[in-house]
Symmetry: C2
């Protein structure tokens, strides 16, 4: 066969299904923070948050194998694993977020969250930032600036200016917090005047897709106050910051110190097994459950629940949140020590780092750096409105030795 | 702990999360067509289509374990398993349905199918039947009569009268086929006049949720002609009939002999592992892929692909489609031999059977029969507009010996 993998993908998946990197990496094996390609070449994974507790963690694999060989069915029958999981997961949450709907993806979770806000408020207007991504369903993609919906944006959606990650570090933190709240307030007024009313604000507490903001306690307080005053819900997308990634706390919203009405999760929940969940207070859940007869065939099945429980076990037993905090401080220090005229700043939200570059052609410069790094065996990518921020978001088992390897290679690539 | 499982579910999942049966079954183990509860009691599974090749099939379990311990990542890197799967799956399809988007649920697949119709036609109007269910996302639940959307149905949706399963068997097949096509045509005219235009018709080729129609070649020809003439797409939901369930063919639409533009699949694809897919012709896929930058983190991951491939292997090696055809004829004969004044008819679409009851209180009678059967160790349920049809939809490894056990117990329960 002379057909390349790229050609085969195009034949079977259609056009516009991009891969990472100019020469796509063909991966065949993973273990912890390491990945191997089909040529036996090893890569340090500095990017994949789905493999939260490390690629192919034996305890998660074992949990999946064990349960898949015992029973896998839906939640119309009684089973204890899904209940054990919701019990344990909600124990990590404050603010009376004690109930959950288990689904299969973060997109499904966010799709549900939008309807919870509608069910509680009886209104349909929804607000998100103007540089975000919350998932891929028809409804949720309405909130995306990167993947605008087919046929134009729905009239009940307002996208407000996202905070700028470089400003808080410059010192104007309060002004920026207030500016974001003001933008939300204007959008609420606009939704009320246009007849949709305001149902909720969906946001990622560390603004991961917007370019990553270092979480600062109180930063969202003015915004939360504006939302509460208008009777709307705060739908907190914890797909990226949750499960200890922020290091200081198990949840991003706890690092910022605000109380969401709904929390959505996905990617890292089961280390790659397709799971998501929408967590809510009992009053919010009751409003939704009484308005809509939701059922998800795969959601909360025993295999998914077993995988989810194993991930919680590993986070706890291997103290991955503490490791995240420790590695975060260490790696941030190394990144801040890098010398290059284009570096604007290095920032972190726990085990999630942004190294921002400035100057003309910063996006191309960052793209080129990503290519140089993958050639050196380091899996990385970019974020930010201008795609000028190197994105470092490794599995939570990433340690100081890996941080050193990464920064040595970065230093080398930047010196080129 | 004095908290019952029902109480614990309500505490952790909220209200209105129903289980099957007055006394919910607490399942702990599955093997082939058999399930066991926490008391060691055995049940014959005559209902679960997710465990398509039998509960905990060792080849599917082994494929999952093997790949989960090797690598599980997303499709932004090259991997051959997802391509191997799409290659093999599309080889089972005619009508140039040669490309796929892999997702995690049938709901996600149908949500995509709606957008494909929009992308191709540039219009938004969509038609489904008036007694159906195609999934649980915000967009797809607009097509559901069982779970109507929060805040009312969107104005671009038309629900047309579903065919009645008892009439074709009475002989007025052509009239019924034409009546359905006429309903679709009226809905198309209405959508065009109201400004939305007509993008597509979504349907299950055996009308499984509507009450189950025995597939008859040509039955949907008048409808297909109406849809084609109006420039719309036929979105064929094969979640229930696909993968050999209809016995005579691998796909429901092949049993009816029509060419869909998009085929969606879910539940049985990976025997319970959360997978779905949206299959389309290259021209349809290109229109969608060029209009929208879709990416699904878990969709098409190597573990899901491995599980999907194993299911195809088992269907082929154990000749499950042929077994379905054989068991279907045998069980249908037994069901048709049952004597009870309330029985209207017994019908089948391969390994999917309906036993319809009539007379006053037929729904309660059927509900009571389901309860009597679970007490005897048989997992069953109901379908149909009036919920008066006993639904028999076992794993594809269900054989004649199981059919005999089922009908003996049914005969016994009906005699009570």
């Amino acid at each position: 066969m002379s057909e390349t993998l790229t050609e085969r993908r195009a034949r079977l998946m259609g056009p516009n299904v991009p891969t990472f990197y100019q020469t796509p990496v063909h991966l065949v094996r993973g273990d912890g923070v390491w990945l191997w390609d089909d040529q036996g070449r090893r890569y340090l994974d500095c990017y994949n948050n789905v493999a939260h507790v490390g690629h192919c963690h034996p305890r998660v694999v074992e949990a999946i194998c064990q349960q898949a060989s015992t029973l896998n069915t839906h939640t119309r029958y009684h089973h204890t694993l899904v209940l054990d999981y919701i019990d344990r997961l909600t124990a990590t949450l404050g603010h009376d977020l004690s109930q959950a709907i288990m689904v299969c993806t973060g997109s499904e979770a966010n799709d549900l969250a939008l309807r919870m806000a509608q069910a509680v408020t009886g209104k349909t207007g929804i607000i998100a930032t103007d540089n975000t991504y919350h998932g891929n369903t028809s409804a949720v993609s309405q909130l995306s600036t990167r993947r605008p919906p087919i046929g134009g944006r729905a009239p009940n959606v307002r996208l407000v200016p996202a905070p700028d990650a470089t400003k808080p570090l410059g010192g104007s933190l309060e002004a920026q917090a207030q500016a974001f709240a003001d933008g939300v307030e204007r959008a609420i007024q606009d939704l009320e005047q246009s007849g949709f009313g305001f149902s909720g604000l969906m946001l990622c507490p560390v603004f991961a897709n917007e370019g990553l903001l270092t979480p600062v306690k109180g930063f969202l307080d003015p915004t939360v106050e504006v939302v509460r005053r208008a009777g709307g819900l705060i739908l907190c997308d914890e797909v990226q910051p949750g499960f200890g990634r922020v290091g200081s706390h198990f949840w991003g919203h706890d690092a910022l110190g605000f109380a969401p009405d709904v929390v959505t999760i996905g990617k890292p929940m089961a280390n790659g097994h397709p799971v998501g969940a929408c967590l809510a207070r009992p009053d919010v859940m009751a409003a939704f459950r009484n308005a809509f007869g939701y059922f998800n065939t795969f959601g909360g099945n025993p295999v998914s629940a077993a995988a989810c429980l194993a991930v919680l076990d590993v986070i706890e037993d291997e103290q991955l949140q503490a490791n995240g905090a420790e590695t975060s401080a260490y790696l941030l220090g190394l990144l801040q020590g890098l010398q290059h005229p284009r570096i604007v700043n290095a920032r972190a939200a726990g085990m999630f780092f942004g190294l921002e570059f400035g100057g003309e052609g910063a996006a191309d410069f960052t793209a080129d750096l990503v290519e140089k790094m993958v050639a050196r065996g380091f899996i990385l990518n970019r974020i930010g409105r201008e795609a000028n921020v190197l994105k470092v978001r490794p599995p939570m088992v990433f340690g100081k030795e890996h941080a050193t390897l990464l920064v040595d290679a970065l230093s080398d690539a930047l010196a080129e």
